[in-house]
Symmetry: C2
Subunit: 274 residues, 2 copies
Amino acid sequence: MNEKREAPIGVFDSGVGGLTVAREIMRNLPTERIVYFGDTARVPYGNKSRESVLRFSRQIVRFLQTEQVKAIVVACNTASAYALDTIQQELTIPIIGVVKPGARVAAEATRNKRIGVIGTAGTIGTNIYTDYIKKINPEITVLGKACPLFVPLVEEGWLKDPVTVEVASRYLKDLQDQEIDTLVLGCTHYPLLRSMIGEIMGESVTLVNPAYETALSLKRLLEERELNRPKPKEEEEFPYRFYVSDLAEKFTEFANFILPYDVSMTQKIDIEKY
Amino acid sequence: MNEKREAPIGVFDSGVGGLTVAREIMRNLPTERIVYFGDTARVPYGNKSRESVLRFSRQIVRFLQTEQVKAIVVACNTASAYALDTIQQELTIPIIGVVKPGARVAAEATRNKRIGVIGTAGTIGTNIYTDYIKKINPEITVLGKACPLFVPLVEEGWLKDPVTVEVASRYLKDLQDQEIDTLVLGCTHYPLLRSMIGEIMGESVTLVNPAYETALSLKRLLEERELNRPKPKEEEEFPYRFYVSDLAEKFTEFANFILPYDVSMTQKIDIEKY
């Protein structure tokens, strides 16, 4: 029996958004332990340079390794774009990001070869989804649309609000006119707007949630490497730990809003020390 | 004749918002030269610790001094709250922030001693306006309201949009119910929503624009110290210089949106070197 099976999975993001990825791991890999880190002191990554995002990601990976994680999930689109490939070469444990699983499923799902991608201005600016999808199938047309108001609307908690419906209808109009049949929710906050976006786009458009696809990728990966954790025999202590780099209170509030747990034990650490 | 009169004024903010302060200086002190710095690589300051904001502000002040500025305006509410008093003691040239001028005028303007302050969650969280206003007159009741969607709505350019009207009406409802007679626009982006906010609040509520009041304070200060620049005799080169710490393109776009000039000469500098 592989002793590493018992070790936790490290998940990190620039802030709170990656909790939607953690949530999908909790749902789809319910036996696994998780250590989550949100870099709330340095959020957002989208306007930082490639060098800064790589430096931040390396620090976080070093911190997660002090927690003896067996695998790492980069639950941040910008860090997946700027840092994942480099860090993958530096690590012996497996590390995956949110972009590739989302891009792969979108490329498989499209019938008319027209995929839309929505995300922050930063993510859309990197063209990361477009690049991955075109690597899989160069014949696919990828249309990116930045939706800068979605993150603050989600953070206000206005998930089913008429204001959010109006904003979403405007943002999505272009993509509807362009007749996409598949839409990637390319920002970790957007799964919280999933049902509204689905209603606006209609049943003919397949929504791809990279958070969900990443959890499934992680599941396959852990099974292949015999790193998946068996069901614990007894009731055990709360298997999730949450760390942030600043202002833990706001994080806890948002975590309690999207997770089915009372996340009161968030700890602040000094990430610059790693 | 004081040679320093010819020197520029340094203005800095965490990003683009402080351009509304620069704009008021351009309007009210039209003979002055300006060096503007926007810390776009590290924006926003609102979620950073006091220590970080002080370190960033010191770096920027050192940079502005290499441009031989004769005075500095901290056009950022967070930096005004966390760094201004400390830096004031370290400098020989005058430095002023946006908070004190706004607080002073609001305290003078209120008749019923009920003042509202709107700003980002960061600014409202620091209680900086409340503290200054209460120092002037402890009998005044100050009601703070965070409006986190205003900055992204302004940055989308949706200034007179029905969505923005709806969001503003909701945010301002509480303050209306509390019967304030004076409202401080406590975020550098908000002057761009001034006319809309004025329509919602009605004529009985005095709006205080700290950007404007700061420009007037600066004018008085320069005149008192004989540092104000006389009208140049001849046509001169463009008197404004703009620097940022990252992604100059987005900055230039926003600058051109709010300033009556074509700001195409924005330069990116490495602020960590200062």
